[in-house]
Amino acid sequence: MPSIDTMNTQNVWKNVLEEAEQALSRASFHTWFRKTELASLSDGIATIHVPNEFSKEWMETKYRHLLLKLLRNAAEDIRDVVFVIHSGESKQKTSHRTASLPDTHTIPLPLTTPRINRETNLNPRYTLESFVVGPSNELVHAAATAVTKQLATLYNPFFVWGGVGLGKTHLLHAIGNAIAKEKNLKVRYITSEKFTSDFVSALRTRTVETFRERYRSYDVLLIDDVQFMGGKEKSQEELFHTFNELYSQERQIVFASDRPPRSIPELEERLRSRFEGGMIADIQPPDFETRLAIIHNKAKERGCSLDEETARSIAENVHRNIRELEGALNRVLAEAKDSAIRLSSRQVRRMLANNNNDSQHKVTFKDIVHCVSRYYDLEEKALFDKTRRQEVVRPRQVAMYLAREVLKLSFPSIGVKFSGRDHTTVMHACTRIQEEINSSGPITEELQTLHNTLREYEEGGEDV
């Protein structure tokens, strides 16, 4: 008989199976024939592969005659049937499948990838050492230092928030630099904007897999300005998965934002709760002494020395924002160079006042009322009502405090504005809020956000 091709044996076996299916019940056909195949037909002997010992036994005793008959229908000269156990292939397949499941129980090897000129996107100018520490940012600096010492184990994620120009970005870069310098790990600093645009372009060019690979390969991921994630659902989802992947592999993640997670609008709950899952630290505007120290530091960086008086007058005039502080310093230094004379403190003040006037549209009492009522979700007129309902009382106190703090109004005049209340009521309100601030209650965050909103009014005069 001519040697029969593999193709041919397959055809023979197919015919046999078709006939066997008709001859047997569905259940027994599926149980015994599904995993069999005809391995070879030679010298009148048909070799059939069966998956295990048990089915070999069964086939031999129950179906031997049937098979022989059916095989003879297909190829006449078959004299005998031999069953051979053959499970190699199926066994391999299962082991492959289970092996590809991610292992979460075994401790990973402490492998590090040497950094090879891969862009970390870090500015080496920003270091933890050059970050001026004062009472307003002590905590956040300590936490950042701790993060660099105990990567991914102590505070993960680390969430920094604070107003514009208070050093969030500096801190993020500083954390990255410290880690990159000491540990030789893959560090990456990006803004949330960059994350989003990378993701969008990955979607467009259908390279989402590469995008994921890249973002999930970092040992330390620093994401700035996460508040811009608000409302971007797909990006949030992607960030969520990236976060989970990194977190489960014990990689450090640091976020910065201009407001706390719960104040970021349109942020998905699952992402918010993850932001809040580690350590949240806020940076407050620096106090006078810190500002002074910063001015001296910056001046030194530029290689100039500043006399105490000038430094003081700059620190007195610019108090909200360190970036503006730097700008003010630059202006003073430039002016001093031009006129080649030492500036008196009055000149400095006038210069800075000039400048401030452009941007400092005054916040009005109306702005405060609008802002507070929006924040606490009240009707504006509720603040003026003669009610002592708790949900109104506190916002009213906050509004009074802000009127005193921001507008520097006198207690009686504030009282008058709030439907003729007594000045002692206003004083009481201010003391209450101050007490809360001192005991660092939730008020600190609330005020910070309110201040930020007010600033937006002030800068753009925009109707939020």
Partner: protein, 370 residues
Amino acid sequence: MLISVERNQFLKGLSIIEHAIGRSPTLPVLGYVLLKTVDNILELTATNLELSITTRISAKIQTPGVISVPYRTLGGLLHNLSHAIIELKGVRETLEINTPAQKAKIQGGAVNEFPLIPDVKTKNIIRFQNPHTLTEDLDSVLPAVAASDVRPELNGVLLEVGEEETVFAATDTFRLAVRSTKDVEAKEPKVAILPKRTAEVLSKLMRDAKHVDGHLSLTQALFTDGTTSIVSRLIEGSFPDFSAILPKQESAAIRLSREEFLQELNAASLFTSRLNDVSLTIQPQKANLLISAHNPDIGEYETAVKGAAHGQKITLAFNYRYLIDGLAGFSGDQQIDFVFVGEGKPGLMRPANTKDERNVYLVMPIRTNA
């Protein structure tokens, strides 16, 4: 093009290049095979853009030419032709296949659409004198290659050609397999990460070669035994510096018969829980290794493998698959040393009586508090 080839040879050639046949709905040409006459041989080429394989078979060339046809149609047809000699005739983009009895016409594709195979030939040839050990080394580190591509640099096999020896390594962060060989001649040191698939194909196709020549460029590699050539992309990035994590101390060690250990692990593996965990205790006093596995739904198993041991009594739990993968990488009836470093620290396997850091398998234990 008009040539005649021997059917079996042709089929063998096709089965070699099949490893590089791609399936891409957007680039159907990756499912094509390029047939090209060179002097008196027929060259078969397939590529999936990452990996390209070219092989040569002898043929009787009447008119030279080149044509590209879908692999599946050509391969499927050849399996069903029974004549020993087949005539191939290329007419523009159509390939006619004739035997005395059969006639087939396969619609091919434009030859100039077939991807160009990068030319990686360099002057610095890396010569693998003994392809058998190349296969063996690759096969023993391949199981440790990371299955996921989260970290691309771990998704392949490190090939580090040094002056003294050549090192192969792979890790998925849970285990690390390292092998070295001296059977490699090279003019200058080279480092590359071969994608997993390339390493697999290399091991499979070069098994019976006389010797294999390798050329490494920055992004591509070429391996050839004279007949078959494999050109592959290399993984960019740098492989972790594993020498830093190879343990320098040991708390306990035991010398075991590889086969006995493997057999007992296989038995214990039937009783493991979902974590695939077996618990191993080196008992220096009793000169044995206690293996136990326990699954409340299945039952439990305990066994002791005899072996000379020293150090302190220490217990670690491992994923048995990792242990079996590691043992499978050592050959035959070897004795192996199994070293425990400490709790939460890796276990280390190496052939007995060597302190060679370049022939080890490192495996991390399972968290005990998990």
